[in-house]
Point group: C2
Chain length 504, copies 2
Amino acid sequence: MQEKLARLKEIGKELTLLAHTGSLLGWDQETYMPSSALEERGEQLALLQGIEHDKLTADEVGELLAACGVTEENPMGNADLADLDRRFLRSFARNYWNETKIPKDLIVKFAKQRSRSQAMWIEARKTDNFSKFAPELEKNLDFTKQIAEHLGYEDHIYDALLDRFEPFMKASQVKKVFAQLKTDLGKVFEKINSVEQVDDSVVHRNYPIDQQEAFGKLVLEDMGYDWDRGRLDVTAHPFTTTLGSRDVRVTTRYEENFFNSGLYSIIHEGGHGLYELGFSPEIQGNILANGTSLGIHESQSRTWENMIGRSEAFWNHYFPKLQEHFPEATKGSDANSFFKAVNKVHPSLIRVEADEVTYSLHVILRFELEMDMVSGKLDVKDLPQAWNSKMKELLGIVPESDANGVLQDIHWSMGAIGYFPTYALGNLFGAQFYRSMEKELGSIDALVEKGELKTILGWLQKNIHAPGSSLTADELTRKVTGESLNPQYFTDYLDSKYSKVYGY
Amino acid sequence: MQEKLARLKEIGKELTLLAHTGSLLGWDQETYMPSSALEERGEQLALLQGIEHDKLTADEVGELLAACGVTEENPMGNADLADLDRRFLRSFARNYWNETKIPKDLIVKFAKQRSRSQAMWIEARKTDNFSKFAPELEKNLDFTKQIAEHLGYEDHIYDALLDRFEPFMKASQVKKVFAQLKTDLGKVFEKINSVEQVDDSVVHRNYPIDQQEAFGKLVLEDMGYDWDRGRLDVTAHPFTTTLGSRDVRVTTRYEENFFNSGLYSIIHEGGHGLYELGFSPEIQGNILANGTSLGIHESQSRTWENMIGRSEAFWNHYFPKLQEHFPEATKGSDANSFFKAVNKVHPSLIRVEADEVTYSLHVILRFELEMDMVSGKLDVKDLPQAWNSKMKELLGIVPESDANGVLQDIHWSMGAIGYFPTYALGNLFGAQFYRSMEKELGSIDALVEKGELKTILGWLQKNIHAPGSSLTADELTRKVTGESLNPQYFTDYLDSKYSKVYGY
């Protein structure tokens, strides 16, 4: 059996090398590739994905998994194997089933539909015409449901969709957690609305881009990001990508007259990057060297971006350095005013522009609509109406157009239904981990104020990053915090922080 | 049979996509990859090469070739097929045989030996100790000869080695051509040595690097290189790499106090790049979309670099622009002095630093030594002695150390025996094509003087680039010039040019 396991690990290693090669094709496309190469780049990526698919779904893999005692009832295989090996088997089997259960023919048809659907979505958004996108979304929904049926689920069809992005989590748990979150966020939001708005004009002054880059790099270095293992480049949409266990690159975009855009993208992506660089050596280059779920991944980016990077302690430490980089723009401001400015809360129509308090409400809205669509309670044709009334209910505002409403996100046009919840789950996981970290390290604010960000990274590496996907999100959460996901920590954190920002 | 051919083309397309993906891995490694990623990058490349190997040597390929009527006696296959398809078959079969005739076990052993040998070569060169490298070179020679025996040859064992880099050319032809070249170059060299040396101090002044880049880009654009299909980056050693039929990138290196280094690397690599971008649309993305031989490839880079970029006409056109970019460095100089300065001839110990006249002598020396080694006339232990006496004979100088003599090139440590001749063949092909171009377009100098470089590119594209490897080097040469390779054109060109530079 050890031989079979060794062979599976070899295949896993090859799959990892291929995935990282694909990431380079993608990274290059967004950064340095000449424009005329786009079409051929698509062909290169498709070929590589086809090779990965064939390697993962080969008969040999099924036979090896079976020889290691893996079954759907017993995904960790033979109990005599070492614990980490059994976790490797669980992860490998999951990938294998996800790839083999869906007929190839369906995958190909769906890929074609998605590409048409994305083109129609772009058109629909440009012309603010939902009816152009509606038939495509209906088809995407239909394909998605077929896929869910192939993947299988016990309770709710949404489980199968959610599981692709947030493995092992159930819709019922999200529903329960989001219900509480909705109520609690509403209360914080109400308190903020009852007092005077903060002045954030300072972040809209002129910030020269070369200095933004220098300042961002300084913060990344303080966080423990290492230029021998990564890079920072500029792209239209910021992202993080893993090209090797010692090669994880981040990108950002700068706006000369809006400071938040560049720095907070850098810190956010840096958080993702440090997670990917922090897997323990025993799983590096292995399929366990992956984020265990998108929610956990997002917890790392958002903890760094919001809980650390938008804290008062952060600006107490960094404001003098900010002044050195931007003597003009920071004139007349101070650490406390800057802290308040980067934390301004205001309900907006667009999710990606939302602040820390209202962001999760945008996500909850999308989750509720998705649940209603997949369970047949909501027709696609009625979606704009449902969107607008939920916006009114949750955020108190209604978009003047579908382009700024139901048509704003790319996800549904890509058939990514079940993805949105992970964004909000990240906030919740992050706040819960933060509390445990504080129990062990003492005041995190005190560390941040002294610029000791690497102490924080050390804790995160040891507790959150090292296991990779050998622990599921829930196993990790229970191990680190002693309980399953609990939204209370996040709302407590928000309430405490925003009482300082808004003085309510 | 058309179906079989279509399937072969599909496989050829996939092989091309994989090769281009491998090129991206290599390009990134030399440009932007963080240093810690090196080892894993090697694994990614090795895996991709393994996948290519398996795809190319699959039983299916052998069967498809046979079904198209391809045999060793009839490599172009069934005579009923279209001419271009038959050329495709010849090219595909060549790759297939080269990859299948050598036992995989031998390839793996040789790869390991090469990697040890390269490490020992670096060590030997650093400590100026040939005896450390000698046993490795002996092993490389032994492996190389084994490979030659597997590949097969009719006349001389060197034919099989040369053929890997300069397909279809024979050692006897190189020997004959080089014999004439040696005599003729010697005469030109003697004339130069009989008159006063030119003053090239102007190219050793201070040239700010950002201006070198701007000037280099301007020349590349004039040559017809298109930024939508390429890029210019900086690397330790300049190179050109093809990442797609519309994505061919070049690199250079700049020296602040030596102007030639940056610009002439840019023009040289630009020449390679334009060749790769010039294949006719009917073979793009196909295995025929490749340079037909290294010699022909080098003819393109050297024609642009030397015959055009180092011409008096070039500096008549570009000197005013040079003055705009470098008002300080060009002070007191003029087009004619600059033309002479970039063409200074002096015998040097190092091939890569050699001028246009002595360069080919360095190559001839290596070819003659290689011939003697593979045919057993020269023992590896006697190589330094043989090197030094040939240096004396050809260039009139003797290296004071093996590090600057027999140990200077990486090629033998990589087992690349048979490669060197292609460097000098490039000069010869280039001069011969140039003469035909002039017959059709009239004075090339007149075009260059007016800055009409794109007219030159147009002719090269139509006549040299478009066919890719559908024509062999000899077929191409005979088609374009009406005769086989003839070194006379090159020495005539040199004699005429250097009589102007040196006024002999």
